[in-house]
Symmetry: C2
Subunit: 204 residues, 2 copies
């Protein structure tokens, strides 16, 4: 898009705030002639192992607040989600490996695939930890279902996911969503207005 570098969008599919931000990031980037480069990270590695913190919803006081904060955002912006924050959380790794496979073999569809996973997990409330559920995403995106299913369990995708998570940590990514604009980091769905401002001004 106009030769400008895309903005980097880091996410974990199990992140509710990541889902909410995913609904807005394309429009924010496009408004400034940018594309979006999608990258997966894993909260379980960044938050729990690297930072030594509890999961958000298990943190005293903050857990209750997050439930209310997300519900308030949903009402304000009309976002319906069949999945509730307190529902059992899927193992995010199969979906993340599927994303890595699409990113490597069909990079032009990585964003569309990420949207499809987010949509199916959060809006429709489906568990995407099985190859069957993930495979069903292939057809509508023009991807080969059997190749995707093989990709999910391939050593190549496992290595790509490990590399992607390691690269995210090296870059200082510790949450979802996490955005870089020309190297400048922004954490959280509540920083998207600032991302917009940064893009409009070319930084400050």
């Amino acid at each position: 898009m106009d030769g400008k570098a895309p903005i980097d969008f880091y996410f974990d599919f199990i992140s509710g705030y990541g889902y909410l931000a995913s609904l807005r990031i394309d429009a924010i980037a496009a408004r400034h002639g940018r594309g979006v480069d999608w990258h997966c990270m894993l909260l379980g590695v960044a938050v729990m192992k690297k930072m030594g913190l509890k999961p958000l919803l298990e943190t005293p006081l903050k857990g209750d607040y997050v439930l209310r904060d997300v519900a308030r955002y949903q009402r304000r912006h009309g976002v319906e989600m069949a999945r509730k924050l307190l529902d059992p959380v899927m193992d995010p790794r199969p979906a993340a490996r599927a994303f890595c496979w699409v990113r490597r073999h069909h990079p032009g569809r990585a964003g569309a695939f990420a949207h499809a996973v987010f949509d199916r997990y959060w809006r429709l409330g489906r568990d995407l930890s099985s190859p069957d559920e993930l495979g069903a995403l292939a057809g509508p995106l023009g991807l080969d279902e059997s190749a995707l299913r093989l990709g999910i369990d391939s050593e190549e995708s496992r290595a790509d996911l490990r590399d992607s998570v390691a690269a995210s940590l090296d870059r200082g990514v510790f949450g979802s969503p996490f955005v870089f604009v020309d190297g400048e980091p922004f954490w959280g769905s509540d920083r998207l207005e600032q991302v917009d401002d940064w893009l409009a001004r070319g930084g400050w």
Copy 2:
């Protein structure tokens, strides 16, 4: 102001985000015909004891991000601070007890006193853990310096601070700044736009 309930603003004087929010909260409230009711809390109790978390700046990855985030906010909004986030942190309890004394004995000046402490600690970079430094705030606000100094170490102020911290935890306050509008909680300086929106719409 127009008979509408004030909004509640919870803060810890050692919180940089609390300081940045304190610079905006009066104007946001006034725009909607509201006053501000100031309440002190202690991050050391809420975050470290109750939530079991590390201080923000000692949290891997997040610490570096916070330094950058605050500096970026300062550049954007022209906020100068002689105090740096990595400077030694004062014991916030004497200033919090001074605030409790003002709030009890001169409630109409509680907000002005909170602003004065924040200003002196962050903009001027002074340590306010001594009665001398705190006493110097009295004169310009029309308060009796010797009464304030006695108040800082009084059993009454100690009890008021304990009660204030306990009440904040009972209400779910776990960070600084933390705002309630008609009972609705908002955490963080990056939620002030939402506070403004909530006040404008009367909630949603």
